[in-house]
């Protein structure tokens, strides 16, 4: 590798210039405000964590974790998402707090090997965790809040898809009892979104034609709440039926939130099955080629930190929203420029203080002799006020 040139930075990281930073802060503020209105308190955790705790517990594959060594030879990771760090905090510092806990965050997270455009090594996520509630109400609350958060971020046209890991576990367990490897193979194909491979695998399992059709029928199970009753016909496995019942209750609650028209049930949605344990969901915006939100229930995570409580949550991919969504508020107000001569500085600074106290922005500048009047610099300032010679300040 050649030595980097002065203007270069590592692949996958970005500078945010003032315009982008203002927009990012606006999104951050409106989304966190929205979450606060639902009773979620913001939390910050460190950028670095131990590999052996948060690193291993995280849903991020090992090869995508940034690892470093500290001066004691311990392996650290740059946080790859916020769910595992929050699980650590909820199981330790917040251990005595009564449940449920409602926590929100906005943070930069890091992923290695994502080197193409649109796959940043560092990006922002804004999300919530609802800890200590295993009810369908809790799952519906996080989906409804995800929808409200997307709207707060300025996304207008969007859709959510929701599935349930338990349904698939039950269905596959019934069709292929004690054939863990085959079950795993089917799940992996769904996870890779390889429907062709799923059908081929299903055909190769030596099942009866009816069972095989049931498995392949799974690929068509998308739609509204009616999907839950259709799917109930595919399986009599207890876990599968419980899961469908859970999904139906989530849907009914979403319908009472008045947002079920944005939600599609897709029973092939699986999420990372080593991590999610129940309902999983994803959000999509019309303007963007990649999902802008993902979430679900992960009831086994906190146990790894010594507190066995259920949990559900989501993260918005804030950087993607920033890239793809039009600025809802348009231009920020530009500052007033105040130009003064040295003998009138006190007057000028008092005027600047008055503007700033009123919530406006002011820039002050000592007039250079000869060009005191010529400071329009069109575009940068909303107006110019001058305290020069005997002029009364122009308002």
């Amino acid at each position: 590798m050649s030595k980097p040139q002065g203007f270069e930075k590592p692949v996958g990281v970005r500078d945010y210039l003032p315009r982008a930073t203002r927009r990012l802060r606006r999104i951050e503020r409106s989304v966190l405000d929205c979450m606060a209105r639902w009773g979620y308190d913001p939390i910050k955790t460190p950028t670095m964590e131990y590999y052996d705790t948060v690193g291993l517990a995280s849903s991020t594959p090992d090869r995508k974790l940034y690892k470093l060594l500290n001066n004691r030879g311990q392996t650290l990771v740059l946080r790859s998402e916020m769910t595992a760090p929050i699980a650590r905090v909820a199981s330790s510092l917040l251990r005595e707090e009564s449940l449920p806990l409602r926590l929100s965050y906005h943070a930069n997270v890091f992923r290695a090997i994502e080197e193409e455009a649109g796959r940043e090594a560092e990006f922002f996520q804004t999300g919530v965790e609802l800890v200590g509630d295993r009810s369908p109400e809790a799952d519906a609350e996080v989906i409804a809040l995800a929808i409200a958060s997307l709207q707060a971020a300025g996304v207008k046209t969007f859709k959510f898809a929701m599935g349930h890991v338990g349904f698939l576990n039950g269905l596959f367990d019934e069709a292929l009892p004690n054939r863990t490897e085959d079950q795993q193979a089917l799940k992996e194909r769904l996870l890779r979104r390889d429907y062709v491979g799923f059908r081929e695998k299903a055909e190769s399992l030596g099942l009866g034609s009816e069972q095989q059709q049931e498995l392949e029928g799974l690929l068509r199970l998308r739609g509204g709440v009616e999907i839950c009753s259709q799917a109930a016909g595919l399986s009599s496995h207890e876990l599968a039926l419980e899961s469908l019942d859970h999904l139906r209750k989530v849907w009914e609650a979403l319908s009472d939130y008045g947002v079920s028209q944005h939600v599609l049930i897709d029973l092939t949605m699986i999420g990372d099955f080593s991590y999610y344990t129940g309902m999983v969901f994803e959000g999509y915006a019309a303007e963007l080629g990649f999902p802008v939100c993902s979430g679900g229930r992960y009831d086994n995570l906190l146990k790894q930190f010594g507190r066995d409580v259920p949990s559900t949550g989501f993260a918005l991919k804030t950087t993607r929203i920033l890239d793809g969504v039009d600025d809802p508020e348009g231009e920020e107000e530009r500052p007033v420029l105040i130009v003064y001569e040295s003998n009138r500085r006190a007057e000028a600074l008092a005027e600047a203080a008055r503007i700033r106290d009123g919530g406006g922005a002011a820039v002050t500048r000592l007039a250079e002799s000869g060009n005191g009047e010529d400071v329009s610099e069109s575009g940068r300032y909303s107006r110019v006020v001058s305290f020069v010679e005997a002029n009364t300040p122009a308002k």
């Binding site: 890779r192 979104r193 062709v196 491979g197 059908r199 963007l288 080629g289």
Partner: protein, 212 residues
């Protein structure tokens, strides 16, 4: 009519067969589209827009969402490893990925493999428990063993005629190849009805699918 469906079509060999299949499925594609040199071709009759792409780039366009769906060979999908939905095996443009060599060639200490598909080749030999040196070429792969650049090649074989003409033999077939219908993760949700309808129409006319 819903929104226009943006379709990444592979230029060349596969396009002809895909267009044939689309027409058989009752999707109206005017004849002049086939010989058009335009890169983006609106097809209002079908409520579609064709994006004419180099086949190997089709999954990239679909992954980034500049195309909603695309048609691409399984060979490209396995090589590129993009995050897209693989919805249908269209059963067209059938061929296979194979390991090919000169019949009498004894490999040196380090097995050298020339290919257009370095990821596929590396993965295959790794599964066989062999670590090989892969040389990436962009065309006329058959040359490599003939002129001593590599001991083996990994390439697509359709009829096997080129191999025969050059005195090469197929040692092993790695997997069967057909063209697939793929979809972007977001389009698959946002334009689900249009995509599902297209799938239903195509499924009725597709030739039987192969096993990979």
């Amino acid at each position: 009519m819903g929104e226009v469906l943006k379709v990444a079509m592979p230029k060349g060999r596969i396009y002809k067969k895909a267009a044939e299949l689309f027409r058989a499925a009752g999707i109206v594609i005017p004849d002049d589209v086939d010989d058009s040199r335009r890169l983006v071709i609106p097809i209002p009759e079908a409520n579609m827009e064709f994006i004419m792409a180099k086949p190997v780039d089709v999954p990239t366009y679909v992954e980034y969402g500049v195309a909603d769906i695309g048609i691409v060979g399984k060979d490209v999908l396995l090589e590129e490893n993009r995050d897209v939905y693989e919805l249908l095996d269209l059963g067209i443009a059938r061929c296979r990925m194979s390991v090919i060599a000169l019949p009498d060639r004894q490999p040196g200490i380090h097995l050298r493999v020339a290919t257009k598909y370095p990821n596929v080749a590396t993965r295959y030999f790794r599964e066989q428990g062999e670590q090989v040196e892969v040389i990436k070429l962009n065309g006329s792969i058959e040359l490599a063993p003939l002129i001593g650049l590599a001991d083996r090649i990994v390439d697509m074989v359709e009829t096997g005629q080129t191999l025969k003409d050059n005195g090469l033999v197929e040692l092993e077939s790695i997997f069967g190849i057909t063209s697939r219908l793929i979809a972007n993760r977001v389009s698959y949700r946002m334009k689900n009805d249009a995509i599902q309808q297209l799938c239903d129409k195509l499924e009725k006319v597709m030739p039987g699918a192969v096993k990979s």
